[in-house]
């Protein structure tokens, strides 16, 4: 470390950020950690429980079930939204008067508040009065998302696809628009056609933005709460009770603050771990 000047004043400049991060991240997180190792019956009386809540959550059938539901849901929407988003982005015009029209249409679903999306789809899918529900039933298919688990899943997935495919579309479209024209011209001269152009030019150039799109969609869908809460409330039964809905039920429904805190930390670690795995895998592929 010779030759470097040491200046303690630097701390002063970093202080605002430290305070900010402390208040919006560290302190709340530590409060949760605090809850997760104790038992309380109110009145600010706490009993030390150690790792008991963690063990309980990790061994609970209920947690396993909601985690499985969560993973299934996230996998399905990623499998639908990413290819669909790329397909729509490829079909969108790159220039001309229709570009702003398409962009606004695409952005619209994302501008609607999440609880409104849930309420909209709830009414839209009601079997007696909703346009979607009524139409499906009039086709001779018995559809009632408030009673049939399969119908509830179908509606929730359809709603999420409607709400969030645009994000993938816009990111993929931005990636496509950044490809310089000579790439297409060179491919044309080299005799490449449809699939080869997509595989060797468009897909490699979209890789970065698609990585971000997949990561964002993974995190958001893994933490989904508002829309299914408003649409199905986690039902029928527990059919659409995803992790966050389950968590709220335990924390605010049953007031089991200790187990809820332990569960939210485990939940947080799962999201963190999976995001890290996704990111490393995709980045490693990039470097190869």
């Amino acid at each position: 470390m010779t030759g470097k000047t040491s200046n303690q004043k630097a701390w002063l400049f970093v202080l605002p950020v430290v305070v900010l991060v402390a208040f919006n991240a560290l302190i709340p997180l530590m409060t949760v950690v605090n809850y997760s190792v104790q038992e309380t019956f109110g009145d600010n009386v706490f009993f030390w429980e150690g790792l008991r809540w963690y063990e309980e959550v990790l061994h609970s059938e209920r947690f396993h079930a909601s985690l499985l539901r969560q993973i299934t849901f996230t996998s399905i929407i990623l499998l639908i939204e990413v290819p669909l988003g790329v397909a729509i982005a490829l079909a969108m015009p790159r220039r001309g008067p229709w570009v702003p029209v398409c962009l606004v249409l695409m952005a619209l679903p994302m501008l609607i508040p999440w609880n409104v999306v849930g309420a909209m789809w709830n009414i839209f899918a009601l079997p007696e009065i909703g346009l979607l529900g009524k139409t499906i039933n009039s086709l001779g298919i018995n559809y009632n998302f408030t009673q049939q688990p399969l119908a509830a899943w179908f509606t929730t997935i359809l709603m999420d696809v409607w709400h969030w495919t645009s994000l993938v579309v816009l990111l993929a479209y931005a990636g496509l628009c950044s490809i310089p024209a000579p790439y297409y011209q060179a491919a044309k001269i080299d005799g490449a056609r449809g699939w080869a152009i997509f595989r060797y030019i468009e897909l490699p150039k979209m890789k970065r933005v698609l990585t971000i799109a997949i990561l964002l969609r993974f995190m958001d869908s893994f933490m989904i709460y508002t829309e299914p809460f408003v649409l199905t409330g986690g039902g029928p039964g527990n059919a659409t009770t995803f992790l966050s809905i389950d968590l709220v039920k335990i924390a605010l429904g049953q007031f089991d603050l200790g187990p809820a805190a332990a569960m939210s930390l485990i939940y947080f670690l799962i999201v963190l771990l999976l995001s890290w795995v996704f990111y490393t895998l995709m980045m490693r592929h990039e470097e190869r």
Partner: protein, 359 residues
Amino acid sequence: MSGIGLKDIRHSYLRNPKSDEDWALKHISLDWSDGGAYALLGPSGCGKTTLLNIISGLIAPSEGRVWFGDQDVTEIPPDQRNIAQVFQFPVVYDTMTVYENLAFPLRNRGVPKGDIEARVREIAAMLDLTDMLSRRASGLTADGKQKISLGRGLVRSDVNVIMFDEPLTVIDPHLKWVLRSKLKELHQQVGSTMIYVTHDQTEALTFADLVVVMHEGTVVQIGTPVELFESPKHTFVGHFIGSPGMNVLPCEIDQGAPILAGWKIEVETRVEQTMGGARLEIGVRPEFVSFSSDGIPVEIVKVNDAGRYRIIDTRHGHIHIKLLVAEDDALPSESAYIRFDPAHTHVYADGWIIDGNSQ
């Protein structure tokens, strides 16, 4: 194939071009023979890239026909035209290795595997890429990538014309020279027609046997580097080629000879007085102006040292005339006079040269 013919090409990027300025290419007819090295030279926006893209088929001309030999190729798509093109920014397929990049055009055309292998190795050797064949193309430097783009054209045995669209723009200066010599060498080795678009006169003059100078959507002169230098057909060519460019000085005509600010200038061509209100100018390159004991009296304004010679900026009244003087020649001390070399002094009417042929 035997050469490229452009017949009455006009092109506009607008759907309904109205005024003259709406046309990117105003009216172009050209005939190029097979196997030549040509350059399209002109400033940015003169239409040279448009013309190149019309030849390669990336753009369909608004009017006119493109002929390759005796075949009309105007409607034929680029991949069936026996052409290859190298772009300003190197285009490589990032996910592929250098080998796969070079093999790509052949694979798309269904060439048998063994033939691809042999051909790719042959071209890689020509371009000094053999050591890099198994590397990822995205990891190469700009000049390496540009060689790959060129290689993808060379591997195809059906390619007769290779086109370059300012290919050295992103190459480091010290490698520009190397790559340019490589191109020249390849041209002799491969024997295909090469068309080189650039705004850099050095690149054009060193690469091409015949240079096409373009200005505002028209061809102003086609000639060998020497012709462009010694008898520019248009004052634009005089300005654009040469460093510094040609002196262009307003003049009048009296008894068949140009008069510059009252001084009679000797030229080899007799100029008729019937130029009918055209804008008349004398054009003489700084290389052909010299100090002498008599002639036009001037005052020396500025001396720029350019290494082997000096560029002298002189003034007669409000007319500025540049001339070159060798590094060790003395400058006149007080009263200076200059004269023009009659063999290399030309008269221009409305920008176009007046010579024995055109009258």
